[in-house]
């Protein structure tokens, strides 16, 4: 009986999520058709272009890796009741760090430098989130406010680095960009015909490891208790500062790492086009849709990777700005929240 209720509840929640996502897609379709786009073309770009071997499929996996890596960090911090709104900033610092290590530790032999670039990106994200973490743990400062502030600082800092220390000698005029990483510093594809890099299995493996470490150990209970109530956590003898620090710092390191996979596995160079992508906010949506569960976030990330690529090419098919995708994401997020409300209300008490 109990299991049955649980199953029904899950079904209902899923149904609402699907409905919410459908609503967002519908809104996007309306805009595209209003702008004079062909409905058939729009639908086929939305659903089919992401799996076209030539272009979309690579993009899907790039975004899946981004959303999943960052989303796990956001979800982890959320378990402890902490909002990391700053994933975008940490991601950016990670991207910058790849080139900082590449430029300033160039004397290292190839395999060491390769690893150092990846670790440097993670370290950059970790240091960037260390500021809100310390301010939160030591001074009780609100982490939402501080991570938001640091996003703005990160963009300015990245722009400074790009226009000076890591600028390519080739950019005399126009917008500054970094050097392009040579092939041996790129994350290679698994098979040559399908553009999926080793970052994809590595991310999935990391997701499984985090699932085992976070969801299958007492840590889950500890983090959740801190997230639910500090008083209960104190009573249970849980070290609140420690749980906060571990979840926040991991979140920062993961977002920095996402920056490394984005640069080394896809873009190979940094320019201001990568600055205001808002991937950090999509990672928050993925964490919420995945219900803060390390594997659930993976499913949500894959879905949002597919959806955002499809929606972007749908917008382009009718000459509509890709900014419509942000509006669609916002509508989906609202819908999902309302769905949660309806589910909770039905099963409350």
């Amino acid at each position: 009986m109990r299991a049955n209720t649980q199953g029904l509840r899950w079904l209902r929640a899923t149904a609402y999520n699907v409905l919410a996502i459908g609503l967002g897609i519908l809104a996007g379709l309306l805009v595209v058709v209003y702008a004079g786009g062909n409905l058939g073309v729009a639908l086929s770009s939305l659903f089919l272009s992401p799996i076209e071997l030539a272009g979309g499929s690579q993009q899907i996996f790039v975004r899946f890796v981004l959303f999943y890596t960052m989303g796990m960090g956001v979800g982890l911090a959320l378990k402890a009741g902490l909002w990391n709104i700053g994933a975008q900033g940490q991601l950016l610092i990670g991207m910058v760090m790849v080139f900082v290590v590449y430029a300033f530790l160039a004397f290292l032999p190839w395999p060491v430098l390769y690893v150092a670039m990846i670790l440097g990106a993670a370290l950059g994200g970790l240091l960037w989130i260390a500021v809100p973490t310390i301010l939160r743990v030591k001074f009780g400062a609100n982490e939402i406010v501080v991570t938001i502030l640091l996003n703005v600082v990160a963009i300015n800092f990245a722009f400074f680095m790009l226009s000076g220390p890591i600028k390519s000698a080739g950019t005399a005029l126009g917008f500054p960009h970094s050097v392009e990483l040579p092939a041996k510093f790129q994350i290679p594809g698994i098979v040559s015909s399908v553009p999926i890099t080793y970052a994809v299995p590595a991310t999935i493996a990391m997701g499984i490891i985090l699932y085992l470490v976070v969801e299958r150990t007492p840590f889950r209970v500890k983090a959740n208790t801190v997230g639910e109530s500090h008083e209960t956590a104190k009573y249970a003898g849980i070290s609140i500062p420690r749980v906060m620090a571990v979840t926040m710092l991991t979140a920062g390191a993961l977002a920095g790492l996402a920056g490394a996979t984005y640069i080394m596995g896809y873009r190979y160079e940094l320019d201001i086009g990568s600055f205001s992508t808002n991937y950090g906010l999509v990672a928050i949506i993925c964490a919420l849709v995945g219900r803060k569960h390390m594997l659930g976030i993976g499913l949500a990330s894959f879905f949002f990777a597919y959806m955002t690529i499809g929606a972007e090419s749908m917008a382009l098919s009718a000459n509509v700005t890709t900014y419509v995708v942000f509006a669609m994401e916002g509508i989906m997020m609202f819908g999902i929240l309302l769905g949660n409300y309806l589910t909770e209300r039905r099963y409350a008490g």
């Binding site: 001074f139 609100n142 000076g164 928050i284 942000f326 994401e329 916002g330 997020m333 949660n340």
Partner: protein, 312 residues
């Protein structure tokens, strides 16, 4: 090249007075809303929608006052929807705030791009400065204090009114009561969710005014993501201000003095766009961050901030 110090100071102070009202409008609304227990993280999305509305309506009617009304109207509609979900449906305020931000970020540009696909627009008609010809007294005073448009002075009045409202009026006390202890307020016969709804709606209206003000004083025309995080900074200012209106005024003025000083310095030093100047652009934000250990320690949020209330 020698530059008179007095000219630099005049530049810094007049820029400060020109930019601060944007933060003051939004700040006063958000203070009232957060004092009642509801934080609207989507403020920048609402501002983007109002800013877009301001430009479009101003282009079409040539009348900035009509644009102001339209901007407030748009903000009110979005704010009412947010308030309904956050208060009545008890949806997570941070998540729904971010949803509002995303919708505003996307929709504002989609609409603008639909109305002006080529990007070519008529000229924006701003509000006139309060006084155009200042003949008596030292000219510096005129440049600093009187060349702003009337909304700048309205924002200063709003600070005084908000402070008075929150501490001296019975509705203001009810606003604080429902944020501090909704249960007790309810027992005393206060309609908790109604007060919260009014406070949240008021906040949204001030975001509309802030979006309108942004048009005349920050940018010449609408672009994607043009507010660029400045709306979110308001949340930080309120935090440092410990949810007190006069301290928000202090935070906004000092943030903008640092901002104006660094941009004056950068333009005088001739660093050019793409170099050290970006490092200086970080200063105002780093300045706010540095205030945390000093002011953040004593900051105490309204006790039931972010917590929905259910009767019974």
């Amino acid at each position: 090249m020698t530059v008179a110090l007095s000219d630099v100071l005049i530049g810094v102070f007049s820029t400060t007075l020109q930019l601060s009202p944007f933060y003051l409008f939004a700040g006063m609304g958000e203070v009232v809303s957060e004092q009642s227990g509801v934080a609207n993280m989507g403020l920048e999305g609402i501002m983007l929608m109002s800013l877009m509305t301001t430009f479009v309506v101003d282009y079409m009617t040539g009348n900035p006052w009509v644009a102001l009304l339209a901007a407030i109207g748009v903000a009110g509609v979005i704010g009412a929807f947010f308030a309904f979900t956050a208060i009545r449906l008890r949806v997570d305020q941070i998540a729904s705030g971010l949803a509002v931000y995303l919708i505003g970020l996307g929709l504002s540009f989609v609409i603008f791009n639909t109305v002006y696909p080529s990007g070519l627009t008529p000229n924006y008609i701003p509000l006139p400065p309060l006084i155009t010809n200042w003949n008596t007294g030292p000219p510096a005073l005129g440049i600093i204090f009187l060349k702003q448009n009337v909304m700048a002075y309205v924002s200063l009045v709003l600070v005084v009114v908000t402070a008075f409202f929150l501490t001296r009026t019975s509705l203001g006390l009810r606003v604080r009561a429902v944020g501090e202890n909704p249960k007790a307020a309810d027992n005393m016969g206060v309609n908790v969710n109604k007060v919260r709804f009014l406070a949240t709606l008021f906040a949204a209206l001030t975001f509309g005014v802030a979006g309108f003000y942004f048009a005349g004083n920050f940018v010449p025309g609408f672009q994607t993501d043009v507010i660029a995080g400045r709306g979110f900074i308001v949340l930080a200012m309120i935090y440092f201000a410990n949810w007190k209106p006069y301290r928000v005024l202090f935070a906004a003025l000092s943030f903008n003095i640092v901002y104006a000083a660094q941009s004056e310095f950068v333009s005088l030093s001739g660093f050019g766009v793409a170099s050290i100047s970006t490092l200086f652009n970080m200063l105002p934000y780093v300045f706010l961050l540095a205030l945390i250990p000093i002011f953040g320690r004593k900051a105490r949020a309204p006790k039931f901030l972010l917590k929905p209330y259910k009767k019974g």
